[in-house]
């Protein structure tokens, strides 16, 4: 299964990604949490600038798949490469560095509860040593975009469910990462807000970023497909399938 060469966003791909090289490459990847295999024999090559949806019933392994894509889990068999590096040979430090190029929206959004929302969103910059980054403009813009300007100084536990998801998305994209992996980013927000978040992700994609979204929100997927050349992957019977035009 290889990526579509017609993908419109490829032309503007991020400058620090080797041209043409796949950003995520799975080759016969399988995963098991200890019992039977949850995912097996998955092969896929995600080229820079692609836009993917990941669907499948609850418990199919969507989150597990995404966790492998940011090296939080290592495949129990098969080879997985991130930016051309095989995760099996990656040291803990390499993983940390690779993650700076991957923005992740976790399904249960996790924050540092004693830091304000704004500080949490800016944290990736501090962690990667970009403390001097001009946060007064960019951060404010980002907060406005996800509709959290008025909650910037709140603590994460004081946010509503949807506000947490938006904050998590803001944190994931503040570093302008090469890949954005989002796990149910619109699970707790209403239709208008999820449209708005989708627009944000589409814009990132237009800038050449690769986007992978796990979601079971069919209307979101339909809406995205009407705006971008998005591919829909489905996890069923432990395998990865490319869903057809009809979802």
């Amino acid at each position: 299964m290889s990526d579509c060469i017609l993908c419109g966003a490829q032309a503007q791909q991020g400058s620090d990604v080797k041209s043409g090289a796949d950003v995520i490459e799975l080759d016969g990847v399988a995963y098991s949490y200890g019992g039977g295999e949850l995912l097996s024999d998955m092969s896929l090559a995600i080229t820079p600038g692609a836009f993917y949806f990941l669907t499948g019933p609850s418990g199919a392994g969507k989150t597990t798949f995404l966790k492998m894509c940011y090296a939080a889990l290592k495949p129990t068999s098969g080879a997985l490469k991130l930016f051309g590096q095989d995760v099996r040979t990656m040291e803990r430090n390499d993983i940390a560095l690779v993650r700076r190029r991957i923005g992740v929206v976790h399904q249960d959004c996790q924050f540092i509860d004693h830091l304000s929302v704004a500080d949490n969103i800016a944290l990736p910059l501090s962690v990667s040593g970009q403390d001097n980054w001009d946060d007064t403009t960019n951060l404010k813009e980002l907060l406005a975009w996800v509709g959290l300007s008025h909650r910037a100084n709140a603590l994460p536990p004081e946010l509503s469910g949807g506000e947490r998801q938006r904050a998590a998305l803001a944190r994931a994209i503040i570093m302008s990462p090469d890949i954005v992996l989002a796990d149910e980013p619109t699970g707790n927000v209403d239709w208008e807000m999820s449209e708005r978040l989708l627009r944000l992700l589409l814009e990132l994609n237009r800038m050449g970023k690769t986007v992978v979204i796990a979601s079971h929100d069919l209307s979101l997927i339909r809406s995205a497909k009407s705006q971008v050349q998005a591919r829909v992957l489905r996890i069923a019977n432990k395998r990865l399938q490319l869903a057809g035009a009809n979802l």
């Binding site: 939080a72 940390a96 993650r99 924050f111 540092i112 004693h114 830091l115 990736p124 501090s126 962690v127």
Partner: protein, 301 residues
């Protein structure tokens, strides 16, 4: 030394931006400070006890060295010869450092408390006393008595302060006990600080997960926690040491007390030992937290 210095330097660079990711306060960090303070306080006490009993053992040893006398009674004309012979024998006895006959003035002084100055000592047929200075191990009184009976049947060995010897051993032992206590306290503090650090790390599991998620290196995370903990411990240890030192300073010192106890108070250069407590305790905390953080991080992805 330079490692210690850089540790201390790292401790005092203040609340760096990155350190904010670790909550500034919390029960476990208060607990860490308190543990360090309590432990430092106890170390000061144990140190004072150990040093005082060491001094006591020294003093008593000195007293023991002059604790034996040999009394020779003989007709006046034979007395000098017998005394000379006794000294010869004593000087070849193992455990005797030196032996010396007391002058008659010294003998009178010894008796005055009992007899007053009115008794005509010089006219009495007084025995002669020989003072025996012993080596720290002392001599074997039974063996010496046997040797003496042959040549000098009138000689009486009076080893009346010999009962103090076990006391010296006890004091020495107490001093060692103090050192052992310090060691134990060190180990216990280490264990408690490790546990407190782990508890704090466990309490901050989410912070660590989030940091890993957004690409923080192990070194970054470790440093934030390690600094926080070593600093907490240092502050606690300083407070504990100062309070401990204050209490020890209230102890009776040598001036006010008679020779035997020689005061629990520390004296002179001994105070310098206390300065070492905070850096040592915070080094323990430093390694303990580093170890705990390392172990925790290895378990995360």
């Amino acid at each position: 030394m330079s490692a210690l210095f850089s540790t201390l330097a790292a401790l005092f660079v203040g609340d760096l931006q990155r350190d904010r990711v670790v909550p500034a306060s919390g029960y476990t960090s208060t607990l860490t400070s308190l543990t360090a303070a309590a432990m430092a306080f106890l170390v000061v006490f144990a140190l004072a006890l150990s040093l005082a009993s060491y001094r006591l053992a020294q003093d008593w040893s000195k007293a023991l060295e002059q604790s034996a006398t040999l009394r020779i009674s003989a007709p006046v004309e034979q007395l000098d010869a017998q005394v000379a012979r006794a000294i010869e024998i004593l000087e070849t006895t193992p455990g005797v450092a030196s032996a010396r006959a007391l002058s008659s003035e010294e003998q009178s002084d010894l008796l005055t408390p009992w007899l007053g100055v009115d008794v005509p000592f010089d006219k009495l047929p007084l025995p002669r006393l020989i003072e025996i200075v012993q080596t720290p191990d002392g001599f074997d009184p039974q063996g010496l008595r046997l040797r003496l009976t042959g040549e000098l049947p009138s000689a009486v060995l009076d080893d009346h302060v010999r009962w103090r010897r076990p006391l010296v051993q006890a004091a020495n032992w107490l001093s060692v006990l103090g050192v052992v206590a310090i060691g134990l306290i060190g180990l216990t503090s280490g264990a408690m600080i490790i546990l407190a650090a782990r508890a704090a790390l466990a309490a901050n599991a989410q912070v660590i997960t989030v940091l890993r998620l957004i690409g923080a290196t192990d070194a970054y995370i470790e440093a934030a926690f390690v600094r926080r903990f070593a600093f907490r411990t240092f502050i606690g240890a300083v407070v504990g040491t100062v309070i401990g030192a204050g209490v020890v300073a209230l102890f009776p010192g040598e001036e006010e007390q008679a020779a035997i106890l020689t005061g629990l108070r520390l004296s002179g250069v001994e105070w310098m030992w206390l300065v070492l407590i905070p850096p040592i305790l915070s080094s323990i905390a430093f390694s303990a937290t580093r170890y705990a953080a390392n172990r925790l991080l290895k378990g995360l992805t």
